[in-house]
Subunit: 336 residues, 2 copies
Amino acid sequence: MKRRPTIIDVALQAGVSKTTVSRVIGSEADLVREETRNRVLDAIETLGYQHNAVARSLRTDRTNIIMLAIPDITNPFWPGVARGVQDVMDSEGYAVVFANSDWNGPREALFLQMAARNRFDGILINPIQISNDTLKSTGIPTVILSSSEEYPDFDCVGSDSYGGTRLALEHLFAQGHRRIGLISGQRQQRSGHSRRSSYTDFLNSHSLPEDKRLIVDTPFDQAGGFNAMQQLLDLPEPPTAVCAANDILAIGALRAALESGLKIPRLLSIVGMDDIFASSTTTPPLTTVVKSKNRIGQLAAHFLIDRIRGLDHLQPRHHLIPCILQLRGSTAPLNI
Amino acid sequence: MKRRPTIIDVALQAGVSKTTVSRVIGSEADLVREETRNRVLDAIETLGYQHNAVARSLRTDRTNIIMLAIPDITNPFWPGVARGVQDVMDSEGYAVVFANSDWNGPREALFLQMAARNRFDGILINPIQISNDTLKSTGIPTVILSSSEEYPDFDCVGSDSYGGTRLALEHLFAQGHRRIGLISGQRQQRSGHSRRSSYTDFLNSHSLPEDKRLIVDTPFDQAGGFNAMQQLLDLPEPPTAVCAANDILAIGALRAALESGLKIPRLLSIVGMDDIFASSTTTPPLTTVVKSKNRIGQLAAHFLIDRIRGLDHLQPRHHLIPCILQLRGSTAPLNI
DNA sequence: TTGTAAGCGTTATCAT
DNA sequence: ATGATAACGCTTACAA
């Protein structure tokens, strides 16, 4: 495998200086006479020259690479967001590096170090452990993918899970449900909180009593949902409807309910959140709160590009994308 | 935001030459006296020095970044593979850039160009359009993620869909089924072929007649599976079992069958392929052929690392990871 | 054990 | 409109 041609080879071949070649391949192409430019382009063609982004980055101090750091790539929510991010970043000429921490804090820190060492131009992150200050110390423009309030120095883009939860609860209320359970995941305290407070506020606004036993914290997986549901069904007065913090929990809950012989939605309504693919293929299909993954990704990407372009004077912006309720077969009017 | 410290700042601070600093942060740390090393490390600490990977790459011609190019990140198969890839690459010190072509040929080409320009150390790709020769012309070590035979110059890692299909068909045969439909996607001719030929070979080996009407080519989505199933059910003599090229098709087929009032699996058996999350949450849950996404990713990563390390003399290796049949509720003995 | 200096492939600053 | 030349921050012979 022979050496790759450089800008110098091209210059020699075209009979010009390397400066001229640099002009042609860079952003100053119009400063060079058309005839010369064509000679250069021909040389590039015949040599099969590909410009060296590494060398360019060293000189310009810009890599055109951004990092997207997420905790779990197998959670279908993130690929959805990632696609939105890529839509924008592609068209702006940025490559997107995925960093998948698998919920591992030290790994998350490692990835940030990698971003810093490689002089990536920006970071999009759904933080699991890293603090506002550590993030600031990287010196890299960063946007938070979360509705958390813990990162006051950064732009944040998240989904309005408070509003989304409210949407779900009001729907159940309108169907006549008054005893509504909440299955909330325990790992992410932050989004957990907004759902939790939405639940409390909902109860208050309708003057419903708060029964602690109706709130179950559980690990964020199907088994967690399953167990939580069993726990709720074992109550002396089980709920007539259940709201789960995400679809996977909801699907676990659905399965537990079905296995215990309950007819869904006749005897129990269930609402999930996220609208993952599987929630449309259960029997009955799951009513769920939809977050617009694509829009989250796109907006976050735009925010990040603003920051990269040096809009540092802007106050940190927080934006929550509203949720939509996707009605399907797992909810129905209260059966009296 | 002030300038990042360089190796020179560290050298000054520690009272040594930049060579020494380079030795300490690089792979020659043991060549330097412990006391000196500690002085350097202290300087690094107090200055908050982060080494510049861009400059290092320019000098060493290695970026420690590889690209994973796939057609569709929202297809849960790929995140699974990606995780296997990352497991290996992380531990070898490589960062993984995702490139998601969205089944768009020109975009795929663009990504390869990006890999070349950025001097990535390697490429893992599930090719959708690009040819063996174009791939070779990048000059970058590359491993193909596919069981295709169209890339004779590269290592290939795929899953044995021929064997997997056979597994599914033999299972149905053992259950007494003799009239078995095949729903095969049309987009990827390659894997389509292996399933198709497996089907034909299966029929021959059991001396079953081949009925063209039992084979339906359809787009690779749920609607495709739905329509294909309807088409099969409209046959004068519908199949008693159906084998689909992937779970999404199978789920579409399942839904079509249920909607037309068929009891599954009593009146119709369905087998999918891939074991996506949703296939475990349908009613009944789907019997499916499992590909070991993780092992595919890991093996491909190892192959790629071999190539990067310069094992060019090796013949191109093709490896098919065997599939496993995951029995669930969508298949049952033929009901006579 | 440590230092000097050349060079990686660009872009940017001056000249011409 | 084009060219000469100095950076960019690092690694690596080679020297001391």
